[in-house]
Symmetry: C2
Subunit: 238 residues, 2 copies
DNA sequence: ATTTTATTGTCTATAAAGTAGACAATAAAA
DNA sequence: TTTTATTGTCTACTTTATAGACAATAAAAT
């Protein structure tokens, strides 16, 4: 099974996913560091099998990297300027050093073309994910979106536009709950919103607004041991 | 210059554009009827030259079909289920009847693969457009969006999703003016909004809202000859 | 010349939604 | 028992949205 064969995969077309997680009041993105070249960082991505739909392909990539199969996943934009080539990988292939690629010749041919990438973004409960490495990854880690390294090609821009899409959709489509554990306090929900919009919200009005949406189910109180009134736990009602 | 050569054009990838125009209180879409087969209707589309960015390619297609070069054009979604093939064209090619294709063999090979299409939508002043035919068009016409024929592949769905995108963006991005002539009355603007949302608006409040946006420049009155108060003309201030 | 008709521009009143300030309730430490 | 930090909610105020009303007016009808 050759990854770089146009008979099996669609050439010049890739899928890249911005996988969002939330931890310590910060949005994080799953980033892979490749196990060749020097400090080549990329978004989790892959190619489209000839017999897979694009949503299906994106979901498979997500399963491979996160181990999860029930995931919020949405296409947001396709990126395709004329000069969009994976030069860092080509450079490595040119250097005649061994790489983990099965067929170097096919890889060179494959990557020497310009690529168009369909961008997806995903929202996951960061605690449920065990980042999985593929053959080409040295490591796969959650990095805070505020301090990402320089990514390959236009991947930094892809993250930025995914974030803009998330901001547009968070309120309207009520998708923020995908980033939280099953139960959470109102404060935790607010802190998530503040992380996404990078902006403070008034506590009283935030609570009023959220409760008015009638999508939250109030559960028992959460006694944390802190010297103050215990907050209620909530669950997303679906 | 072969249209169906992967050296020159990206294989398995196409661009299709939903070109919106506005006339007689109705949204219209530019639809081409192909000059082979029977009643094959499609969105204006094309392929991506190896040396063109996707936005560039979409713009070129638009220029070819409308004659306009300054156009509101935006990508909205990419369509790519696994079984997305252009069967109607393949059927015609199979029939061994003459078609306007330059190289039938190359065409068969080209179209026998599954295609992924990047969807764009455009807003134009319908009066400025002279629909242009290509070699493959029998006719290119403005059809009311409410009464489109059955289009090829998933093009009807592409129109529907383009309309949903237009509805989401009309207010926020103030792009409706691209569908109107240089000057227009408040009633004409309101009728456009009503056509897009398929919904009536209150005249007094619509005017108040539009004026509060401070993007309209009030010009002289328009004397139509009608037996009533003459409305002001407005221009979009940019 | 005056009245009539259809439409326009804008005003006011009311309703709904968003924002800001206040305070009692409370879990655990002091 | 008091203190502290936080939570849940109330009220007042501001802004925005919705609904009803009416004078102004261009041209036809009288």
């Amino acid at each position: 099974m050759n990854q770089f064969n146009p008979e099996q995969y669609i050439p010049q077309l890739s899928i890249d996913s911005v996988i969002f997680g939330y931890r310590k009041k910060q949005l994080h993105v799953l980033i892979s560091k490749m196990n060749f070249g020097h400090n080549i960082y990329t978004l989790p991505g892959g190619f489209i099998s000839q017999d897979q739909g694009i949503d299906e392909a994106a979901l498979q990539i997500l399963k491979e990297r996160t181990g999860l199969k029930d995931i919020f996943l949405e296409q947001y934009k396709t990126f395709g300027p004329a000069d969009r080539k994976n030069n860092p990988i080509l450079d490595v292939l040119d250097q005649d050093k061994p790489t983990p690629m099965p067929d170097e010749q096919a890889a060179v041919e494959w990557f020497s073309k310009r690529f168009i990438s369909i961008g997806y973004y995903a929202l996951v409960d960061i605690n449920k994910v065990k980042p999985q490495k593929t053959d080409l990854d040295e490591s796969v880690d959650w990095l805070p979106i505020e301090s990402l390294p320089s990514l390959i090609m236009d991947h930094n821009q892809m993250v930025q536009e995914a974030l803009e899409t998330l901001r547009r959709n968070l309120d309207e489509k009520l998708i923020g709950f995908n980033l939280l554990p099953e139960t959470f306090t109102m404060r935790e929900l607010q802190e998530l919103y503040e992380a996404v919009y990078d902006k403070a919200f008034a506590r009283n009005n935030f609570q009023k607004k959220m409760l008015s949406l009638e999508v939250l189910e109030r559960l028992e109180k959460k006694f944390t041991g802190a010297a103050n009134k215990a907050p209620y736990l909530y669950r997303f009602r679906r």
